[in-house]
């Protein structure tokens, strides 16, 4: 056993934590939108894909510095999030949940096809070589460490926004009771629009960190969409802390499970845990 519990296991654990940061950041925006508007954006990962393309085109094609390009992506995807709400969600807000789900599913295919037509099928990347972080025999991805830190900062920033600002308080209030708040004079339509913009902005932020680690192509959303959705459900749909914790649980299953067994077993164990949790707590780990 002494060969199993070694420095490489520690590396796998830390890599799991870093992966958790990436997945946690992805779950953040989706949870915010669901928590407030009660609509699941099935097309969330496709917004991330568009954000990745934004960074790519701004930086590689138009020569905009990476940081500015990322800022641009946050703004662009934020606007797209607001547009998604205004054009697609708002007309079906009073419809059955299944209709809302299907309409965002339709947007998913629309965005994938749109990206294929407009950007082509090529795999694109920033071509950046980030420095490598190593401690003795352990090596870590700089991009992952950055993603982890930004995810934490995003979480804290969102928490402060929701608890310390008037707008944030209004968003929390409407999330608690969507029926009563409009009767008290709160403009729910405006709040939904702002929330969708923030949700989109968080997708844009995730895009900035993913584009440092992955090639962008029209189908990249398929890599992250299902697992992000699963994490949100596991943590309790709409619960941001729950989503964050669930991201770290799932990522540890993937990383350590994949280290001890065949790499695909990591996913099998993670999904088995998810199914088991759904039997025991259908509302998710932190859901009410």
């Amino acid at each position: 056993m002494d060969t199993i519990f070694d420095i490489y296991l520690l590396e796998a654990i830390v890599n799991g934590v870093l992966l958790g940061g990436v997945l946690g950041l992805l779950a953040l925006g989706l949870n915010l939108v669901f928590g407030v508007i009660d609509v699941v954006w099935i097309c969330y990962a496709e917004l991330v894909m568009l954000g990745m393309y934004t960074v790519y085109f701004l930086h590689v094609v138009y020569g905009v510095p990476v940081l500015l390009a990322c800022l641009g992506a946050v703004v662009v995807v934020g606007v797209l999030g607001a547009l998604l709400h205004y054009l697609v969600i708002r007309p079906v807000l009073q419809s059955e949940p299944i209709n809302q789900l299907l309409v965002t599913g339709g947007v998913l295919f629309f965005l994938q096809s749109f990206a294929t037509l407009v950007f082509g099928i090529e795999f694109r990347n920033l071509g950046l070589k980030l420095p490598i972080l190593n401690f003795g025999e352990m090596y870590f991805s700089y991009a992952r460490v950055l993603a982890f830190l930004v995810a934490l900062a995003g979480m804290v920033g969102l928490y402060l926004f929701l608890t310390r600002t008037f707008l944030g308080t209004a968003i929390r209030a409407i999330a608690q009771d969507r029926e009563i708040m409009p009767l008290m004079g709160v403009d729910s339509r405006k709040l939904y629009l702002v929330t969708s913009g923030i949700g989109g902005g968080l997708a844009g932020l995730a895009a900035c960190l993913l584009v440092l680690q992955y090639d962008v192509h029209p189908a990249i959303g398929l890599t992250f969409g299902p697992i992000t959705f699963m994490i949100c459900v596991l943590g309790g749909l709409g619960n941001m802390i729950g989503g964050f914790v669930a991201a770290f649980i799932i990522s540890q299953f993937i990383s350590i499970g994949g280290f001890f067994f065949h790499i695909e077993w990591g996913y099998v164990i993670a999904f088995a845990f998810f199914i088991l949790t759904m039997f025991i707590r259908p509302q998710g780990l932190f859901g009410k």
């Binding site: 795999f123 190593n134 192509h217």
Partner: protein, 430 residues
């Protein structure tokens, strides 16, 4: 108006002549299936589709096949097996194509081949390589001139056995190899060939593991490889997973003496260089050779001109300078079918239905040097465990050196003295 007997005979005769002329000029509809969208499109499928289209264009420009114009009905499998199968059914049942051709992914090829064969329709596989398409299936109407995955696995191990002592200063039995692969029929097939042959040659297989091509994270695989410390990594994958693996390997501090890829994503040298620049210098790729790398003098007269024309048209169409092996695969198999099998089916067997095409395919006998990729074509007969697979096809081991592709194995075709292990200073060198 009532026609007299002579007039009726004339009309009837005229109708027969016209009918015969029409049937002689009837178009041949070929359902061409490739992944034009989704991750496989950029992994070589689109390049193969262009190769196929170039071959069809060139044949049609010469008047078609025995007077028949070739009409391709293109279908996009969208990098999804279910779509590939649905499109095949649509092409056969609604478009009423005379045969199917193409298919990039082995994951699509395996179920599609069985389905088409069961329906007694003809399928000419151009790019997919999994041996599982044919092994012990005894297919009657499916043929593949392309190399198969067992040969991929074999080529890399035999190459390593040859260079272990003189280049790596190691006995073959001391050579440690790790086999990693995407877990579809293509990756599994090649990895199986790798394992069998490398073990047979006495090498140590220190790790063998598959993963999903759409995996979001391969860092635990990188960590395991670091622990296993292989000298050589034998990798089979598509495009997004290869770039993810190489990126995470570099960031994870993985070091090795050689990386040998097996087609698909590793065949896309321009994409690899665009992403990794010098980091992929001296990497190897096992694939059917890109036709432009072969010395035209070693081929039958006129074959080199075909290659030149294909390259010219591909560059004009895409604007790229480095033509991937997939273009040669798409072109070559299509050309073999249109210039050898189809004319024989029409002339000798009276048409181009599945039975005529099957008989004509079984009589194919193109000697080595008779195709743009160098290999000959002769299909294994019914009853053979690989019935329908070309028995004369063979891959080569190529090495990427400063953006150029060189042939490292077989020794007789070498255009470079292989560089192995990776030189000091290389991003992945030990």
């Amino acid at each position: 108006m009532r026609l007299g007997f002579p007039a009726r005979v004339s009309v009837l005769a005229g109708a027969l002549v016209c009918g015969s002329a029409l049937s002689a000029a009837a178009d041949i509809k070929i359902g061409v299936i490739y992944d034009l969208t989704g991750p496989f499109a950029g992994g070589g499928s689109k390049a193969a589709a262009i190769g196929t289209q170039i071959a069809i264009d060139m044949i049609n420009e010469k008047g078609g096949v025995e007077g028949h114009k070739i009409i391709p009905i293109n279908a996009d499998a969208q990098s999804k097996a279910d779509v590939a199968i649905n499109e095949a059914e649509r092409l056969l049942n609604q478009e009423k194509v005379d045969l199917l051709m193409g298919v990039y992914s082995s994951a699509h090829c395996v179920p599609l081949a069985q389905k088409v064969d069961a329906a007694q329709k003809f399928f000419w596989a151009n790019v997919c390589v999994a041996s599982a398409v044919f092994k012990d299936k005894n297919l009657k109407y499916v043929f593949r001139p392309q190399v198969h995955s067992d040969q991929f696995g074999e080529a890399s191990c035999k190459f390593l056995a040859e260079v272990a002592k003189p280049k790596m200063k190691k006995e073959v039995k001391d050579l440690k190899v790790a086999i990693i692969h995407e877990d579809g029929p293509y990756g599994v097939g090649v990895a199986q060939g790798n394992e069998e042959v490398c073990k047979e040659l006495g090498m140590q297989v220190v790790l063998k593991e598959g993963y999903s091509a759409s995996s979001a994270d391969l860092s635990s695989l990188v960590t395991k490889l670091k622990r296993a410390r292989p000298d050589v990594i034998l990798h089979t994958g598509y495009n997004p997973d290869i770039t993810l693996f190489l990126r995470q390997s570099r960031e994870g501090g993985l070091r090795f003496d050689a990386m040998i890829g097996h087609g698909a994503g590793y065949g896309q040298i321009d994409k690899l260089i665009e992403t990794f620049k010098d980091d992929v210098n001296y990497f190897y790729n096992v694939d059917p050779v890109a036709a432009q790398l072969l010395d035209a003098k070693s081929l039958k007269p006129g074959i080199g001109d075909l290659t030149a024309e294909m390259i010219k048209r591909y560059k004009a169409q895409t604007g790229v300078q480095e033509v991937p092996p997939h273009t040669s695969m798409g072109f070559n198999q299509t050309w073999i079918f249109l210039s050898d099998v189809l004319p024989r089916a029409i002339k000798k067997y009276g048409g181009f239905d599945a039975e005529a095409l099957r008989k004509a395919a079984l009589e194919t006998n193109i000697p080595e040097g008779g195709t743009i990729q160098g290999y000959g074509v002769k299909f294994n007969p019914p009853g053979h465990k690989m019935a329908g697979q070309n028995a004369l096809s063979s891959p080569v081991v190529m090495q990427y050196v400063k953006g150029e592709t060189k042939i490292a194995w077989p020794t007789g075709l070498r255009t470079i003295d292989p560089v192995i292990p990776l030189p000091k200073g290389h991003a992945y060198a030990r």
